[in-house]
Amino acid sequence: MYNFDVEQPSTLADAVQALSRDEAQPLSGGQTLIPTLKARLAAPSVLVSLGGIADMQGVSVDGEGRLCIGGGTTHATVAAEAAAHYPALAGLAARIGDPAVRNRGTIGGSVANNDPSACYPAGVLGSGAVIVTNAREIAADDYFQGMFDTALEEGEIVTEVKFPIPSAAHYEKMLQPASRFPLVAAFVAKTAAGVRVAITGASNNGVFRWREAEAALSANFSADAVAGLSVDGSDMISDLHGTGAYRANLVGVMTKRAVAAMG
């Protein structure tokens, strides 16, 4: 990796200040950024570590009954502490990567990066969560804007994600055999506003809501309701691990299985 400075602010305000430096980059769990630096594929002048900001840590429930997860909270912490409140989300966190990844990687880092094959974007979009930053609150439907693209402005930090807790939810994932990222995964949630279905790993445009399945499931919540539906494979990721047509098939299978698992 190239040389860089490190800032370790303990408050959000100091972090925002530090990120105003030229070619500064925020560092959360570093599970994407550090390998990128090691491969010399990025050369920030300063890394601003968000790990020391106490206000961005932890899992709690707010007055509206929402599960609030600090942006700097690791997957392992979510897996342990969200289990009693939102088991589907805790289960998602518990199966990200391997133990080393789960003990370093954070929800804020994952959501800010918006890898098209990451797990959290499906959970956040599927839950209809709200992404809280140092500047504003952004609804998940407005936040994810395509592969590695989000509504975040330069220097904006994901401080918290607030999840309305659905009456039932399930995350079903097919693993890419090498990386063990999702090849395709579906997050299905029964929310007050109807059924939400978020798909990750499949689309060239990153995580997306499968509206057709949502409508079918809102009318008739059963695996059979989605059995006849299909998505267009031409917009899907096609690589060594699967064609677009295969991923399109998995979108249906993972969704159906998620629904079945919810009983």
Partner: protein, 787 residues
Amino acid sequence: MPKDGGIGASSKRREDVRFLTGNGNYTDDMNMRGQAYVHFLRSDIAHGTINSVDTSAAAGMPGVVQIFTATDFEGVGGMPCGWQVTDKHGEAMQEPGHPVLATGKVRHVGEPIAAVVAESVEQARDAAEAINVDISELPAVVNMKDAVKEGAPKVHDDLTSNLCYDWGFVEENKGAVDQAFVDAAHVTTLELVNNRLVANPMEPRVAIGDYNRSDGEHTLYTTSQNPHVIRLLMGAFVLGIPEHKLRVVAPDVGGGFGTKIFHYQEEAFCTFAAKACNRPVKWTSTRSEAFISDAHGRDHVTKIELALDAAHNFTAIRTDTYANMGAYLSTFAPSVPTWLHGTLMAGNYKTPLIYVNVKAVFTNTVPVDAYRGAGRPEATFQLERLVDKAAHELGVDPIALRRQNFITEFPYATPVAVEYDTGDYVATMDRLEEMADAAGFKARRAASEANGKLRGLGVNCYIEACGIAPSNLVGQLGARAGLYESATVRVNATGGLVVMTGSHSHGQGHETSFAQVVAEMIGIDENMVEIVHGDTARTPMGMGTYGSRSIAVGGSAMVRATEKIIAKAKKIASHLLEASEGDIELKDGAFSVAGTDKSVAWGDVTLAAYVPHNYPLEDIEPGLEETAFYDPSNFTYPSGAYACEVELDPETGQVTIERFSAADDFGNIINPMIVSGQVHGGLAQGIGQALLENCAYDADGQLQSASYMDYAMPRASDLPFYDVDHSCQTPCTHNPLGVKGCGEAGAIGSPPAVVNAVLDAMRSGGKDVGHIDMPVTPSRVWAAMNG
């Protein structure tokens, strides 16, 4: 009663104590005083003409000691190839030059163009980025069949084509084989790909060059399976250093799997640069570099045909294989698809007529060479897939068809030039059928189907040739080396022994199993025996470890040396006991006079050898140290039968292995636990090839699976609990231990069983696709099911 020591005991691996407590001494653990670090600037273009390499800006970068390019290696030899194959017309193969640093052209992604030696790795990398390389890109040749077409771009401009050789075996049989196909009652044809693999030993390659100006001695510390071979190749052919001025040390090595047999440019570079820079030079491969610089394995495209008579007897086999050599000939590359592949094509069957054609092809990819099994997995995969396909075409039981055609009388001379000394293929198949509970399969399939899954059972046999090899034979076949093995047994005055072996352990457990053999022969505790390996300054000239040869060839050398020790010790004992030498017996570490209670302990004899006060000095020399070289008279032929049971999810194409049974015949066994461990590891690699591992290039010669993000290694959760058995034992008839070797069997025998099982599952779901290529990924299975 299991033994608690000696031959047949499952002695715990003594070397594991240091490996598991972080006390191993791997090459990267070694640091020389004043060492500098090298970083190689590697080509990111598969094929191109080098117009210029401008190092002027880089030379002034911080920490730079010296930058090397091809011009620094003018007058230095190229990387040698250790095996010359003669083609079907009697012509020698086309053998291109292989420079240490790319000269004139780059021919694969990863080829080193320049090398920066600097005070730190990071400084070397920084400077390498400042080197300005101007390359005019040329069309890359990736697909083998395209590569041999008229007018294809040439990887090597000075060769007539991209065809390294066109090998026919046995050429004289071709007409008879073709006639057998004309006369056949049934012909089964199969086209398949044996997928290219990256070896991925846990420890990446490392090299440290060191030069001592005071005595002119070079030392290379390297991650090698065969330090003497490296010393010979690098000293004699590349750098022109006489062997008495060159020491090669291969200390603890973290896995080789074949890819650490070969002599690599980085080794020659570090040795050369250490003298040029007058300080030690160290290179540690990154995992990313390993993907594009370690020799790859397999990569065959094959058409195979089987002729059968009306009674389903095999009458002939004909194969046509394209074998990828990559951009250059790696050390033993030409031998893999020929002598290590064609000679195995009879398998376990008495097929009277066989013809094997292999076209070896140059492409703009990383060189391909031996990888665990080397040629034999390719032969086994095509043959055992073919027999399975024939059984289904004929509507007969695949096991019954195999049994009908088994070789049952030994020795058996195959039509492909080898003679199997022993084997019992019926016995291993009988054992396998018990282990695999074939009778219970129907119920297990029903249970899977009740769960929405398909279940398949696949079986195969294998035979391999290990213990490579009789030197005079391989010399006739084109080897530029002998393939004996050596051992020096040094007995110390107080009775302990040190065995200096030419074999090299990089995970096989030699330090334990070799000691068991010597301890058994003398009747002493195995902790009195120490095994030394991996240093040309400490061991006799040896050829190293590969091809499951260590116990069969290296072990035999050790037995011969120990026999010499015992013979001399008996002379000493007879003197001490004042008895006739012929009456002396050695048992449980003591020499006794037959029929009497007179005896002398091992330690008293060894002490007498070094303190020869009461000693027959007029007849024998003092001391107790003997060396033996053992050159085998034949290969050994381990064999076995494997069964795999898979569950297949028809909606996703996901295949999971539910059961795996392996019945092997390795002849006599020194340490059953180590043998089981070797089979387990081999199975993991075979299953990895069958289900997961895919070294893929795009049409421009870029490696698509160039990291663990895309190259899927088998993980524990991908593998079942194996059922491994080696109770069927037909001892080898021509080596003193009756051993055959076990290191590669798992990797050779398992891929066809897995694929046969997947196809069986698919057929049970109403889809008979005839064949599916490895790796059998969920995507491929789903596409086949829905095609």
